[in-house]
Amino acid sequence: MAKYALRATALIYLLFLLVLPIGLICWKTFSGGVGPVVESLSSPSALHAFKVTVVVALFAVVANTIFGVGAAVLLVRHEFRGKRLLNALIDLPIAVSPVVVGLALILVYGRFAPLGGWLADRGIDIIFSLPGMVLATVFVSLPLVVRAVAPVLQEIGIEQEQAAWTLGARPWQAFLRITLPGIRWALGYGMVLALARSLGEYGAIAVVSGRLVDQTQTVTLLVEERFQNFDQQTAYAAAFAMAVIAVLTLLLISLLRPKEDAK
């Protein structure tokens, strides 16, 4: 009996927390049929917002993949002073609120900050434009690839690489032919996680983008802006689209996970 009570509690909890709100979004989205949904999602502003979101997320995933693999190799394969510090810094983005991240970036790269001013003089705008948004997104999704890859790197050990060295492979050849295939599923998993996180980012982007409609507006910003301006059809449709993307990434993640376990 207690078993059923526990299950019912968990289900009701999730019902009110997840299923009801998301279900209502779906219902609201399609309450006028499919036509208005397609129409609002294919408006120039919406299309632009999707494009900005995808561009920012792709840059962020690429940056995090390169940094993530590099940092994982550094943490697992090397001993150096400051290793604990690096380890702690990588987890920092999980602890710091994205809004704080945005503000901090403005303090460094804003037009009136020394570094930001110096860059602006050379025609490079970071804040209120794409580079700043990419920076903010990279920051918030920084740990995901490292933390997915590092344990697997640890587990496969260094002997396969050393065997490759003795067979004549230079370190980068050993990395490409031996290490990378060894961590591919973990890397894919980390990249999908980072992609999902990047697509859904709101707080840090809201601060550094300046929320310029048709310029730096991402889908999450579009949802919020349309909702405030009583264009609820577009807000719901865009939110629905984000939810669909989230479900797809979840599917991808669950496809990648069992492969890792089976190995």
């Binding site: 496969i156 065997a163 490759a164 060295w165 492979a169 031996i178």
Partner: protein, 319 residues
């Protein structure tokens, strides 16, 4: 010829090797034998270039290789846990070194087929390492190391992760392989039986130092220290000396130089019989053949008379 001169290596405060100088002749099959933590694996890894010595140098084939990276030493290395490339088939594992060297495809095929034949894995070419047994994986690793025709083949406890039966088979097989291929081979082991059975020459190491170098017979017959004597075979103490239990003569009646001994226990182990004795209140054990034991006709509680055989090596114990 491999020569290490005055090689030392520490890890933090742990001294792994201390002034180790060893010459390994070309074409030989040499065992580095010793208890674990004795420095033998470290020496092997230094020869391979996988570790750098703190001081001293390494020569391979007459050239100073101390600062040559492992890629250019032309050594084959076999790891205890196989280090199989898990995402590659057996064929591609063995072909790896040849592909890195950009060998033409048809040559790779010929060479890999030849090697898989040598290690009896022809029919497994398209399997993945996960589909092989431990012994098969280790044979694959050996073929992979031999593929690039190394000047030196180094094996780090190659049979350590295998069960006893497979280990015995692979030992004999390694010996035969060496007789066929003649590549200078060094293998690390902590198993004296394995070293005695397989190697032409044995380097006994412990506590980061070379204790003695010689042929298996040499080391067994003429150990230079108590350590080597007791590491290479069974020993017992008689009258303040170390002696092999099979070098004890046991008599029913007193004879020249014998000491009286009380029989505590008689254990028959197949072809041999083990006598647990008490001499002067000290435990001693003697190893007899079944026949000797039968002729002696001794039972637990009897008193017998023992002495070391005339030919026996007796080491007086050094304090």
């Amino acid at each position: 010829m491999i020569r290490t001169s005055h090689v030392s290596k520490t890890f933090g405060t742990f001294v792994a090797l201390e002034d180790v100088s060893v010459d390994i002749p070309s074409g030989s099959l040499t065992a580095l034998l010793g208890p674990s933590g004795g420095g033998k694996s470290t020496l092997l890894r230094i020869i391979a270039g996988l570790e750098q010595p703190d001081s001293g140098c390494v020569e391979i084939g007459g050239t100073d290789s101390t600062h040559v990276p492992p890629q250019r030493r032309n050594v084959g290395f076999v790891f205890q846990h196989y280090a199989a490339f898990k995402h590659m088939t057996v064929f591609n594992n063995v072909a790896f070194g040849l592909k890195i060297r950009k060998t033409p495809k048809d040559q790779i095929h010929r060479r890999v087929d030849e090697l898989l034949h040598l290690v009896h894995l022809e029919q497994f070419a398209h399997r993945y390492p996960a589909q092989l047994s431990g012994g098969q994986r280790q044979r694959m690793a050996l073929a992979r190391a031999l593929a690039v025709e190394p000047d030196v083949l180094l094996l780090d406890e190659p049979f350590g992760a295998l069960d006893a039966q497979v280990r015995k088979e692979l030992r004999a097989w390694l010996r035969r392989l060496h007789d066929e291929v003649h590549v200078t081979t060094v293998f690390v082991t902590h198993d004296q039986e394995e070293a005695m059975e397989v190697a032409d020459s044995i380097v006994v190491m412990s506590e980061g130092k070379v204790q003695q170098i010689g042929s298996p017979d040499d080391l067994y017959e003429r150990p230079e220290s108590d350590f080597v004597m007791s590491f290479l075979g069974p020993v017992t103490r008689l009258d303040g000396g170390l002696v092999r239990p099979h070098d004890l003569n046991v008599f029913a009646h007193p004879a020249q130089d014998t000491m009286p001994a009380k029989v505590q226990r008689i254990v028959a182990l197949g072809f041999e019989v083990r006598l647990d004795l008490l001499v002067d209140g000290e435990p001693v054990w003697a190893q007899l053949t079944r026949e000797e034991a039968r002729r002696l006709g001794v039972r637990a509680g009897d008193t017998v008379h023992v002495r070391a055989a005339d030919h026996a090596q007796v080491r007086s114990l050094t304090a």
